[in-house]
Structures are given as structure tokens and as C-alpha cells.
């Protein structure tokens, strides 16, 4: 079928699965966090609390939709859906299996980095348009943090591109399927690049230890302070989707995507994504957060030089060992 139909069909499929997985991820995270804290977690709504996300969504849907009087209502109302769109759009180029990929762009990596970066603007717009000092502080921090951590993210994403010689995500995964996973060989390039990618991804999606923009203990709710109801739900969901998709991208770029020792396909991709996702939330419920200037120092003084060294080293590697 032609590209539009293919893209639309698979895109719709991916979006549906993504939304469902986000809901399930909500449950999974709460249960995991509870066990880490010697508690039980949700267990009333549905067996083992499996319907808890449904209850959460219904609760958020029935909340009153408030727009502050002096807020810039156009930006205020547009920001959440735009943020959600930017988070979801990245999933278009991720190869979930040899046949399931919505749009197999030749410049897949460039697309996902660019569209992922677009997600910064709605966050900032929402915080600024709220006419709330807490939200403004959160928005400033979010902007500084996201823009800064784009650099290590790009540098880390360059390593698979250089090592495999292509920006097309399906090619990258196929290269890993035929050779080794990039985090396994060359491990001195792939593994640090993978770690760098994960750290930068943590910062991009405002996860602890980099969640200073939405620091509840400092800024009430940061950028989402003035948001209620479905708009808040969209922001909240956009975070989960961003983390999920970024985990999928990390799995595709460094962990071999749908490749596996036996029966390669969708199952491996899903397993790796969920593994990375779980580790992101494990870190979230364990660590404290950095202060914003310490964040910046970490990025520009440690991560960016490391990224540059990795890019140069992988270029040298490709030249020496084609």
C-alpha cells in the first residue's frame, strides 16, 4: 500500500498501543514504587489494582477546567496537546519489529531528535502562559535544562549513526541484528554512549534526578501548577509517553531493537523497552534531585566533553576498522 496509508495505519496502531501501554505503565510504576517502599500499592480498584489507571483518567476527566484570568489562554490551552503530540510523534520512526514501523525515514535519527526537541516549547509555553511565578520559574528551568541536555543527547545518538553508517533506524537495528548490539560491541563506545543517552533522556523528560522543573517540594507543581483536569492529564501523560518512547529509541539504537537470540521480533523490542522504562522509574524513586546549576554543570562540564570524545572515538574506530 502506499506510504500514506501505511504510515496512517501503523501510526494509528502504534499510538493506540502507546496509550494503552502508558496506562499500564502508570499501574506498573505505582506497584513497583510501592514495593520499593515496603507498601502494597493500588489494590482496591480491580484485581491487583489493574484498573487504577482507568480510575485516575476518569478522575482527571471530571475535574473542572480552569483557565486563570490573566493567563494567555491561547498558549495556555494549546500547550498540553502540543506537548503530547511532540512526545507521541517520535514513535513514528521507531522500528518495533522488522515489519512494524510507521514511517521509515532515511533521516530517522534526525527526525526523532528534532521532534523530541520540539517538545520543549510547549512546556515552556505552558509555564509562561500560566501567569504564575512558580510556573514561570519551572518553565525557565525546564527550558535551560532541556536545551542544554539536547547536546549530549545528540552526541550520544551520533555514535550509532557513525558506527552503522546510516540514520535510518531500521538500518541501525538490522546492523545490530547481523553484527553485535552496539552496547555489547564495541562496548567501550557503545556502553558509555548508551549511558550518556539514558542520562540525557532522563533530563529531557524531566525525570529525577533531573526533575527540577517540576520539583514538587520547591515549586508546588512547577510548570503544571495552574493546570487542571484533562490538560494536566495531557502533560502528565506526555511525560510517560516521552519516557516510553525514549526507552524504545534507546533500545533500538543501542540494545538491538527487535533482535534477540531466538525468535527476533516485537516481543524483544517490547521487553527491552519495558526494561529501560522500569529502570528509569527505579532511579526516580531512589535518588534525590540535582539543583539546576548543578544540573547545568554536570551537562556542560562532564557529559558534553564525554560525548565529544565518544563521537571522535567512534569516527576513528570506523576509519580504522570499517
Amino acid at each position: 500500500m502506499n506510504d500514506f496509508a501505511h504510515g496512517g495505519l501503523y501510526g494509528g496502531l502504534i499510538i493506540t498501543v502507546l496509550m494503552t501501554t502508558t496506562a499500564m505503565a502508570l499501574w506498573f510504576e505505582r506497584k513497583m514504587a510501592a514495593r520499593m517502599q515496603s507498601r502494597v500499592g493500588p489494590n482496591i480498584v480491580g484485581t491487583f489494582g489493574l484498573l487504577q489507571p482507568v480510575a485516575d483518567v476518569l478522575k482527571l476527566l471530571q475535574k473542572e477546567d480552569i483557565t486563570p484570568e490573566k493567563a494567555d489562554s491561547a498558549l495556555f490551552n494549546l500547550a498540553p496537546p502540543l506537548g503530547a503530540i511532540a512526545a507521541i510523534a517520535v514513535a513514528a520512526v521507531v522500528p518495533f519489529s522488522p515489519s512494524v514501523i510507521a514511517v521509515d525515514l532515511d533521516v530517522g535519527v534526525l527526525f526523532l531528535l528534532a521532534v523530541g526537541a520540539l517538545g520543549v516549547l510547549p512546556v515552556f509555553a505552558g509555564g509562561w502562559a500560566s501567569n504564575n511565578k512558580f510556573a514561570l520559574l519551572g518553565a525557565m528551568r525546564a527550558l535551560a535544562q532541556s536545551v542544554s541536555y539536547e547536546v549530549p543527547l545528540v552526541l550520544a545518538a551520533m555514535v550509532p549513526v557513525i558506527l552503522t553508517g546510516s540514520m535510518k533506524l531500521s538500518t541501525i537495528v538490522e546492523y545490530q541484528a547481523t553484527h553485535h548490539w552496539l552496547a555489547v560491541w564495541p562496548f567501550f563506545l557503545g556502553l558509555p554512549a548508551f549511558l550518556l543517552f539514558m542520562l540525557a533522556m532522563l533530563a529531557e523528560s524531566n525525570r529525577i534526578p533531573f526533575d527540577i522543573p517540576e520539583a514538587e517540594s520547591e515549586l508546588v507543581a512547577g510548570i503544571t501548577t495552574e493546570y487542571t483536569g484533562m490538560k494536566f492529564a495531557l502533560f502528565y501523560m506526555a511525560e510517560y509517553v516521552h519516557t516510553l518512547v525514549a526507552s524504545a529509541v534507546g533500545a533500538a539504537l543501542f540494545l538491538g531493537g527487535w533482535d534477540g537470540p531466538f525468535a527476533p521480533g516485537l516481543g524483544w523490542m517490547v521487553a527491552k523497552t519495558l526494561l529501560l522504562f522500569a529502570s528509569v522509574y527505579w532511579v526516580r524513586w531512589t535518588l534525590l534531585r540535582f539543583r539546576s546549576d548543578q544540573l547545568m554543570a554536570l551537562c556542560w562540564r562532564r557529559l558534553v566533553p564525554a560525548g565529544v570524545v565518544l563521537v571522535v572515538a567512534s569516527a576513528v574506530w570506523v576509519i580504522v576498522f570499517p
Binding site: A33, M36, Q37, S38, R39, K133, F134, L137, M140, I208, P209, D211, I212, A215, E216, S217, E218, L219, V220, R284, W285, T286, L287, L288, R289, F290, R291, S292, D293, Q294
Partner: protein, 391 residues
């Protein structure tokens, strides 16, 4: 005046809506997840740097001191219990010690011992709570901070269970009375204490790994909110906040009361006066209290627990004319009570000196120059309880 106080003028007048000043006024309002009670700070911000901070307290004022003038001495212990609601035993202890001093009443040795055990257990419980809420401030309610918070509360529950066994209440006990205690230790209580302490001691390395030894924690707290020792003494800061500035002053050792003159208290101090020092001092105090309770609970003397008259009538205790001040060492510092008595069964004036108020008075001096995130860390490390600040 210290160097720091000379440099920073907390009374610096800033025009609120002066466009030239380019300062943002942010109310760290009474409604905030991490102000340790209802507390408001007006922060004048230049970007993220605080230029001036104006704290406002009084949101939790309940006219406790005025209420105390209307109630008889024997009715006051449950009222004053609610001041420092995190370390309730010490509130009652300071009050009854004051009345006993005015009446020149001697408390039986067993009661003194039991009171000291309660005070040290309260210190453990209070510092555990402080550790949990400090992690919450630094790490977020939905995140790493809350994990430490849940852990420390789980341990605190063990101590509250111990208190429940003795007094029947978990939180506001009314177990001190003029002349001694109202509740005696039940059989087998010492063994329960030891087992609870064993559990807490076993979990302490976990807390250290999650907080004190964590690189992120240390970066957030080192060099943040430095309080000069001289300034602290001028402002009347006491307790762990003072000892973290290097001033070696602890009422348990320097002016011992109750059973503290029969046990050796190792006082923890730290240099630097920053948040990390305060955290280290509190942690060390936690460990020291664990050791003290072990020592005390194995050697509780026999005897009666009350040498005064048990409470029967409001009119039974009349304190003759005079004034006295009594200060004891609570987990927050020196909690003092000042009584002016006029011979009736009602106090003429009862004034409570809350240690947290003096700790908060240091805020206008140490906040300027820090960022908003630091303000939270500083507020958490000073460990104020608004209940006793506002009374």
C-alpha cells in the same frame, strides 16, 4: 555584630513594584508542600538568586499561652503537648520541670529515669522524622525523597508503639504530671525497647547510603546556608543548629537535668554551619540517643513514679508567688518555659521559648545569595516546627 550580619541587612527596604529593581517577589506561601507547617517567606528574587527574604510566621497561632492563663496548673500538660508536635514528650517535660522547680518538689528517681528515656526516644523519633521530611524536600514527594520518608516513618512507628504501650497514646501523651509521671512502665517494656532499637540500628546504614553518603545529597547541602557561630549565638539559636556551627553547647551535658547527670552524653558537633553539617549532627545525635536509651533502659531504678499529688482537682496545685525559667534540650534546641506565678492555681503568665523560632530568625541572614532550591534545603535542615514557633 558579626561580619555576616553586617553585610546583610535584613531590614533592607525594597520597593515592591519598582520596575528598576527587576526583582521578582515570590511568596513562598503558607500553602506550600514543603514549608514544614504553615509558614510564609517572601522571597525577593533576581532570577533564581534570593536577594532578600522576609519570613512570616503566626499562621498556626492558637493562643496557647493565653489559654494557659485560664487553666489550672494540673490541666496544662495536655495543652502544651501540642506545641512541638513532633517531639511531644519534651514539651510536657519542660513544663512540669518548671512547676516542680517553683514548688521545690523532688521527683522520684524512677520517674526522672523514665522521663529521660522518653526524652531520648522522642529525640530518635524526631530526628527520624526530620530525616524523612528533609529527603522529601530535596527529592520530591513523588520520587527518591519519599522512599526515605516512608522508611523513616516505618521506624518511627516502632517508637510510637513503645509509647503506646506505656501511656496509651501514640502522640500526645499527657504522661508527665507535677511530681513525676502518670504511667509506669509495663512488664517487658525494656525488652521491646531493645528490639525496636535493634531494628532501627540495623536500618541506619540504609539511611546513610540513601542520604548522607549520597553524592547528590552532599552536593545539595554542602556549603549551602552557612550559619556563622557568632550570629547563631546572637540570635539565640540552640540545639543541633548551633552545634553544627562548631559551638559545643548541649544542655544535657552542660546543665544536666533528670538522669543526664548519671549517664555520659557524647555531644556531636560539626564545623561549617552548612546544611550538611546540620544533617551530620542530627544523624550523630540519632546514633547517640540509640546508645543512651540502651544504657538507660537496662538500669531503670525501682520505686514510685510520682512524689506529688496525683491530679484530682484543678485547684489542688497552687504555686506561690515568684518567677522561674527552666530550659531543657529538645531535638530542636533549648525549649524553655518561664512562669510568673501569683499564688493561685492559675499561672499569671506562662511564656514558652521555642527553639524553632530562633532558628527561623536566622533565615533573613542566611538566605540572601542562595537559590530557591537552596532555600528549601535550608528550611528543611533547620528543622522548624511551626506548632512551637507560633504556639
Amino acid at each position: 555584630m558579626t561580619e555576616l550580619a553586617r553585610r546583610v541587612d535584613p531590614h533592607l527596604v525594597i520597593e515592591r513594584y519598582d520596575p528598576e529593581a527587576e526583582l521578582m517577589l515570590m511568596h513562598f506561601g503558607p500553602q506550600h508542600p514543603s514549608t514544614h507547617g504553615v509558614f510564609r517567606m517572601d522571597l525577593y528574587l533576581d532570577g533564581e538568586r534570593i536577594v532578600k527574604a522576609v519570613p512570616h510566621c503566626g499562621f498556626l497561632h492558637r493562643s496557647v499561652e493565653k489559654l494557659c492563663e485560664k487553666l489550672a496548673y494540673v490541666q496544662l500538660t495536655p495543652i502544651v503537648d501540642k506545641n512541638d508536635y513532633v517531639a511531644p514528650m519534651t514539651n510536657e517535660q519542660s513544663l512540669v520541670m518548671l512547676f516542680e522547680a517553683m514548688l521545690k518538689l523532688e521527683v522520684p528517681r524512677r520517674a526522672r529515669w523514665i522521663r529521660t528515656i522518653f526524652a531520648e526516644l522522642t529525640r530518635i523519633a524526631s530526628h527520624l522524622l526530620w530525616l524523612g521530611t528533609f529527603s522529601l524536600d530535596l527529592g520530591g514527594a513523588l520520587g527518591g525523597g519519599s522512599t526515605t520518608f516512608i522508611y523513616t516513618f516505618r521506624e518511627r512507628e516502632l517508637i510510637l508503639d513503645l509509647f503506646e504501650d506505656v501511656t496509651g497514646a501514640r502522640f500526645h501523651y499527657n504522661t508527665h504530671t507535677i511530681g513525676g509521671n502518670r504511667h509506669d512502665l509495663p512488664a517487658g517494656w525494656s525488652a521491646k525497647v531493645i528490639s525496636a532499637l535493634d531494628t532501627i540500628t540495623a536500618r541506619l546504614p540504609e539511611y546513610e547510603a540513601l542520604t548522607l553518603q549520597n553524592g547528590i545529597f552532599r552536593e545539595r547541602t554542602r556549603g549551602v546556608g552557612v550559619l556563622d557561630g557568632d550570629l547563631a549565638l546572637e540570635l539565640g539559636v540552640t540545639g543541633p543548629n548551633l552545634r553544627a556551627c562548631g559551638v559545643d553547647h548541649d544542655l544535657r551535658r552542660d546543665a544536666p537535668f533528670h538522669a543526664y547527670d548519671e549517664v555520659k552524653v557524647n555531644v556531636a558537633t560539626a564545623k561549617g554551619g552548612d546544611c550538611l553539617a546540620r544533617a551530620e549532627v542530627r544523624f550523630a545525635e540519632l546514633k547517640e540517643s540509640l546508645r543512651l536509651v540502651r544504657e538507660l533502659v537496662n538500669a531503670v531504678p525501682e520505686g514510685g513514679i510520682n512524689s506529688g499529688k496525683p491530679v484530682k482537682l484543678p485547684v489542688q496545685t497552687k504555686i506561690p508567688v515568684g518567677q522561674t525559667y527552666v530550659g531543657i534540650e529538645t531535638p530542636r534546641g533549648e525549649l524553655g518555659a518561664w512562669l510568673v506565678a501569683d499564688g493561685t492555681q492559675f499561672p499569671y503568665r506562662l511564656k514558652i521559648r521555642p527553639p524553632s523560632l530562633h532558628a527561623l530568625s536566622a533565615l533573613p541572614y542566611i538566605l540572601p545569595g542562595q537559590t530557591v532550591s537552596d532555600a528549601i534545603a535550608i528550611l528543611g535542615s533547620l528543622d522548624p516546627i511551626m506548632g512551637e514557633v507560633d504556639r
